[in-house]
């Protein structure tokens, strides 16, 4: 059986960089059983030829967990994690420039009693600052191997693996508890005392602290410039999502059209051609086309996270979040939710306070996620003229307004929740603001690659299968839509949704749209393609809708999707994160009510104004 070796360390010690450097492209991401905390793992071969499994545990400040992701790390180390083997060897990653604070965590980890290797990371930065650390003395004092590393430059990696191999050999014999590990985990102040004693012996000369981060913060955290920079940054991100993505999106669209033409040459007109061309290509194609936008959005979010700017944004936003009973930390999951509510809800696990965390989870789906983009983009292209108003594009303005409505509603919902269901004292803000650093391009590319694969897997599984099911159900028992199960469901739902201006086709699209919001666009494409609008493929769906829908209906549809509760992944992740059906139930209920009311009001107001 392969030995399990786990990386552990304080947040911002460079743990993930070391993991990336050690594993490269072999790494995989999954979730820990029962929770949505991501589990990064990869096979690694040691210098002596043995294969091990390397695991990257979530960062934690101590083994006394305060938030759900810290709990996973502690449980894993203690061997309490159900369905997960206890690691055989630990690698504790330490920031050499912050040894004064990280050393007490090493002492705590050592007392766990597992074989331990310490990676003294960012060693080059400590040396550059003039800090001289006696590595041998540190190793002697701790009684474990200490290896200087520079993860971003791939230095010291072989030595870490050699030390692990040495530990492995020892583990094969009986494991003797380290002499100082008397009575398990002790009080944090005892560790601090011990750490100070060791530091006096191993720090040969204290370096001068770099002030680069402080100087950047002078501007970035400035009361006026700081807010202006944040606003400009957000504006740039949303602009880039649209303008940069245009060329690759056209390319993907053309690709799918060519594929359809090729199919129509290859297959005779009939059921099979209809399934492949109208069902699969029109459906899946209209979703895959949004891959470039999603990659660009995630690129910026990864960049903000890894450079250290995200915590500065949280700092600037803290008092605004405080107005609705949250703190600045909640800004980070909410910003990620603009890409997708699922990772957003998952990253809420870094919030210690359960009420704050619940509130954040409940409002995360109101942030306009990238899955709504296909819906917005199609409707806006079909109904909003591409003219400009005072030099600002009307289409872009409508899109911006939809984002703003989402954010404002989220704040209102949070305000209400904090006074009702999640009432309680506000959680204080206590947040480390890491040094600024330029992340290795490699790490960003890995992150993007993983996100792109997840998105394409969704397109290949959930979206593809909903498209096929929709196509089949719209062909049985009768030959056409009017005499099919889908048609009947559509007619049935139309009774409920007619008062808010939805036609049968919209009602049909809402059902498979449960699988994922963007599927609604695919479904509309398919339904209109089946109804005989010959060219209802991704691109020209815009034309079809333009003729088939009234403006009030289109606006009501947009309003619906600001709140639309449909997304099985969000509901599922909320269930897992909150441990039951209560909160996902409340989430679905309030979002459905807001969507219905929002669409209804929009429809009737638009109808009255437009005659």
């Amino acid at each position: 059986m392969r030995a399990h070796v786990a990386l552990i360390g304080n947040p911002n010690a460079g743990k993930s960089s070391l993991f990336n450097a050690l594993t490269g492209s072999r790494q995989k991401v999954a979730n820990y059983p029962g929770v949505t905390v991501e589990r990064h793992f990869a096979p690694v071969t040691l210098p002596d030829g043995t294969d091990i499994e390397l695991i990257d545990l979530p960062g934690t400040y101590s083994l006394d967990p305060k938030s759900p992701d810290e709990r996973v790390t502690c449980d894993a180390v203690m061997g309490r994690l159900v369905g997960e083997r206890r690691p055989d060897v630990l690698i504790c990653v330490v920031d050499a420039t912050n040894l004064g604070n990280h050393l007490k965590f090493v002492l705590e980890v050592r007392d766990v009693g597992l074989p331990l290797v310490v990676a003294l990371n960012m060693f080059d930065l400590a040396e550059r600052d003039g800090t001289r650390i006696d590595v041998n003395a540190l190793s002697r004092e701790l009684g474990v191997p200490v290896v200087p590393t520079v993860a971003v430059r791939k230095r010291g990696l072989a030595m870490v693996l050699e030390a692990v191999a040495g530990m492995e050999a020892k583990t094969a014999q009986a494991l003797s508890p380290s002499p100082s590990s008397g009575g398990g985990i002790r009080d944090i102040r005892a560790y601090q005392k011990e750490s100070l004693r060791i530091l006096r012996k191993v720090i040969l000369s204290e370096g001068k602290q770099r002030t680069v981060t402080r100087h950047i913060d002078d501007i970035v955290l400035h009361p006026v410039f700081g807010l202006a920079i944040l606003a400009l940054m957000l504006f740039t991100i949303f602009q880039a999502v649209f303008s940069w993505a245009q060329a690759p999106m056209t390319l993907i669209n053309t690709g799918f059209s060519l594929l359809q033409q090729w199919i129509s040459h290859l297959l005779p007109a009939g059921l099979l051609r209809s399934l492949i061309s109208d069902g699969i290509i029109a459906g899946v194609g209209s979703v895959v086309v949004f891959l470039p936008q999603i990659v660009i959005l995630f690129f910026f979010i990864l960049l903000l996270e890894q450079t250290g700017y995200m915590t500065r944004a949280a700092f600037l936003m803290d008092q605004i979040m405080a107005k609705v009973g949250l703190n600045g930390r909640a800004f980070i999951p909410l910003l990620s939710s603009f890409a997708c509510a699922v990772p957003g809800i998952m990253s809420a696990r870094t919030i210690d306070n359960p009420r704050d965390r619940l509130t954040t989870i409940m409002i995360a789906p109101l942030m306009t996620c990238s899955a709504r983009l296909p819906v917005y983009a199609v409707i806006i292209a079909a109904f909003i003229p591409a003219s400009t108003m005072h030099g600002v594009g009307l289409q872009g303005l409508v899109l911006f307004a939809l984002y703003v409505v989402g954010v404002v509603s989220a704040f209102i919902v949070a305000f209400v929740l904090r006074r009702t269901l999640t009432r309680g004292p506000a959680q204080p803000l206590i947040m480390e603001m890491p040094k600024y650093q330029w992340p290795p391009l490699r790490d960003i590319i890995f992150g993007l690659w993983q996100r792109a694969i997840i998105f394409l897997k969704r397109a290949g599984t959930i979206i593809l299968s909903s498209m096929i099911v929709l196509w089949v159900l719209s062909h049985i028992p009768g030959p056409d839509l009017d005499h099919s199960i889908v048609g009947w469901i559509g007619n049935g739902l139309a009774v409920i949704f007619a008062p808010i201006g939805f036609n049968r086709e919209i009602c049909i699209a809402l059902v498979p749209g449960m699988a994922a919001r963007e599927v609604a666009v695919g479904a509309l494409g398919q339904v209109y393609a089946l109804q005989g609008s010959k060219d209802a493929v991704s691109g020209s769906l815009v034309q079809v809708l333009h003729h088939a829908w009234s403006l009030p209906t289109a606006l009501a549809f947009l309003a619906w999707y600001v709140f639309a509760p449909q997304c099985i992944s969000t509901i599922a992740v909320t269930k897992r994160e909150t441990g039951g059906w209560t909160w996902p139930g409340i989430m679905f209920g309030y979002m459905f009510a807001m969507a219905y009311a929002g669409a209804g009001i929009t429809y009737w107001v638009a109808k009255a104004l437009l005659g």
């Binding site: 305060k66 604070n101 008092q319 206590i430 480390e432």
Partner: protein, 92 residues
């Protein structure tokens, strides 16, 4: 830590929230019981131990909240409410 102060200057104990920006100080104590109060545990984990050098670097844009605080080699964001529970020793 004594090197921080001018010889002859009288050290005083105030709350961290009362410090001026960039005024040098060191941690003197925190209100509350670290055994039960998780906020204090978190502060200790982040390095707010007695004797550690501390100073306020930046103030947030709305009402001077939150504060960015240099503690040892780290920077930590805190609100004034939490900062007022931390006692620091400085020269007036």
């Amino acid at each position: 830590m004594s090197g921080v102060f001018e010889p002859g200057a009288m050290p005083v104990v105030v709350s961290l929230a009362q410090l001026k920006s960039r005024q040098a100080a060191h941690v003197y104590g925190i209100d509350g019981d670290p055994a039960t109060d998780t906020d204090i545990q978190r502060l200790l984990e982040l390095g707010f131990h007695n004797g550690t050098p501390v100073c306020i670097l930046h103030r947030g844009p709305f009402g001077g909240n939150p504060l960015s605080v240099q503690i040892g080699a780290m920077v930590v964001a805190l609100r004034k409410a939490e900062a007022s529970r931390i006692h620091v020793e400085t020269v007036a």
